[in-house]
């Protein structure tokens, strides 16, 4: 494998962290948020220390430098996602991106009884905005079930649900199961019935290159903080012709062409959806993150993570009492491993793992309908990223065996 994991680890200051109890941090909560390389942290400090200024309408040097950095970040990020700067709308994250589709496209293009198809596997961010739209605009929300044996989307049920659909919203990769959905087929099938497609790539983007233009998707929602970038920023990618169908969502400065007491005309394109002072430092940080990521072949990154997840899940299945929800060793899996022990309650297990220095997430993972489908209230979830190592997962399994023997 070409990835030099030790060199990669050296880029992340936090990976050297020793916890208050003296244990070395082992960070397996990557599906919640990734860690940040030094270059990302420094890019933001550098902005604040050298050229912080409000951007746009630049008529002094600092404002000009800030604007240039902001725009070059947009160019870099959009190009990383295989599209142009005009197709990228900055948001505070994937959640706001999906809300932007609901308010900025749904409100203007959907009518009573129009059908939105979503799945049982969605994150709450891709469920609640549609339920709200059904309250305010009378649209119908259909949930496609998952097959609880294979932990994959029931594609037959999906086909049935598509009947009459105007919008299909599907998670690229499940944050709970690690399942990577067949989004290529989903986009094709949805377009065949004339439905627009929104892909929630909050988990997908950190694990594979998203090539927006060639994907054919109408909307893609992404968060920076899960892919080495800072909190507080994300984006919605939108096809050019679909963007033309959208109307204003949040309004105020910048997104306007002319404001009078009589009324207001708006900017066109992505500018219509970005109002207020831009998230300047955040955009610069995310741009640096994307530049950092671009040095790697994401297929190699995926293979590395997949190796860790396969090894770990095989070992987990060997520990009596442990059940895995999903198929983390599947070649497309993101490597998120949701599991439960039948004798140690999930919060207790989380605490015991934390005592060993292992950061795993525990709870419903903002996916209660999926939890309901799985018949559990919560899972423990270990999720890996580019900087995790075989040593770490070995130590994890060893420690977990010890815990299970001692506490179950």
């Amino acid at each position: 494998m070409a990835l030099d994991i030790e060199a990669i680890r050296a880029d992340f200051p936090i990976l050297k962290r020793v916890l208050p109890n003296g244990k070395q941090l082992v960070y397996f909560d990557n599906a919640a948020t990734s860690q940040k390389p030094k270059c990302v942290i420094d890019a933001m400090s550098h902005f604040y220390e050298e050229y912080n200024s409000n951007a746009h309408r630049a008529n002094h040097t600092l404002a000009d430098e800030a604007t240039a950095a902001l725009e070059s970040a947009r160019a870099r990020i959009s190009s990383y996602f295989g599209t142009g700067p005009a197709n990228l709308i900055y948001t505070s994250g994937a959640t706001e991106a999906i809300n932007l589709v609901a308010y900025g496209w749904g409100r203007y293009n959907l009518e009573r009884d129009d059908v939105i198809v979503i799945t049982e596997m969605e994150h709450h961010a891709d469920i609640v905005p549609w339920q709200e739209l059904s309250k305010t605009h009378g649209v119908e929300v259909r949930f496609v079930p998952i097959d609880t044996k294979t932990f994959t989307l029931d594609m037959e049920a999906f086909e049935v649900a598509l009947d009459g659909a105007k919008l299909v919203c599907v998670v690229h990769t499940s944050n709970v199961l690690g399942v990577r959905n067949p989004i290529e087929r989903i986009i094709e099938m949805s377009h065949a019935v004339g439905a627009k497609v929104l892909i929630d790539a909050a988990q997908g983007a950190p694990h594979e290159r998203i090539f927006f233009d060639s994907s054919g998707a109408d909307f893609v929602a992404i968060s920076s903080h899960k892919m080495a970038g800072p909190t507080g920023i994300g984006c919605l990618l939108v096809k050019t012709d679909v963007m033309a169908e959208m109307g204003p969502f949040m309004t105020g400065g910048s997104m306007i062409r002319r404001v009078t007491t009589e009324g207001t005309t708006f900017q066109e394109g992505h500018a219509m959806f970005e109002t207020g002072t831009p998230r300047i430092a955040e955009a610069i940080g995310w741009g640096a993150a994307v530049e950092w990521l671009a040095q790697f072949d994401m297929r190699e990154v995926h293979a590395h993570i997949n190796d860790l997840a396969s090894w770990t899940s095989n070992q987990l299945l060997d520990i009596p009492g442990i059940k895995i929800y999903g198929d983390p060793s599947h070649k497309d899996s993101s490597g998120a491993i949701s599991f439960l022990h039948d004798g140690i309650q999930s919060q207790d297990l989380a605490m015991l793992l934390d005592e060993g220095g292992f950061a795993v997430r525990t709870g419903h993972h903002c996916a209660q309908p999926l939890m309901d489908a799985l018949g559990v209230p919560a899972t423990n979830r270990a999720s890996f990223w580019i900087y995790n190592t075989l040593d770490e997962v070995q130590a994890f399994i060893e420690y977990l065996r010890f815990i299970c023997e001692r506490f179950a």
Partner: protein
């Protein structure tokens, strides 16, 4: 001579915890105590009103006075950690007067060496539980 900071019946328990070799042993002991709740609250009785807020796990507490006017705390949680802490709290407060409960301080958790092993939010969960018990006692005074 300093005033007692916790009821006598906790002395032995606190010593037991203080004697633990490490955090793991303490957790083990706590899990054992979780099995010995003297006054359990069955899951069927759990509701929003008796829920302890600010806890990751489900924890529920119901307080009352027994026929002799003595404090009685029944409690249940799905996590052993919480259940263990509630067991020890129940051992402490059951049989007290309401006034004694109100005057009790949650320092026994420190003395057990637990506050150091608990992360702030878990320590906080414990304090929320403790506060719920004290508020109930306050209302019974």
């Amino acid at each position: 001579m300093a005033e007692r900071e916790w009821p006598e019946q906790l002395d032995e328990i606190i010593e037991e915890f203080a004697d633990c070799f490490d955090a793991m042993e303490r957790y083990e002991l706590l899990f054992e105590y979780a099995q010995r709740m003297p006054t359990p609250l069955a899951e069927a009785e759990w509701d929003d009103q008796n829920k302890v807020h600010g806890c990751q796990s489900n924890a529920h507490v119901v307080c009352s006075l027994d026929e002799n006017g003595r404090f009685l705390m029944r409690a249940g949680a799905d996590a052993q950690l919480v259940q263990g802490l509630m067991t020890i709290t129940a051992i402490a407060v059951n049989g007290m007067t309401s006034t004694e409960v109100v005057e009790l301080k949650p320092v026994y958790a420190d003395a057990m060496g637990l506050r150091n092993t608990l992360t702030p939010s878990r320590a906080n969960g414990f304090l929320n539980m403790f506060e719920k018990v004290q508020t109930a006692a306050q209302n019974m005074m």
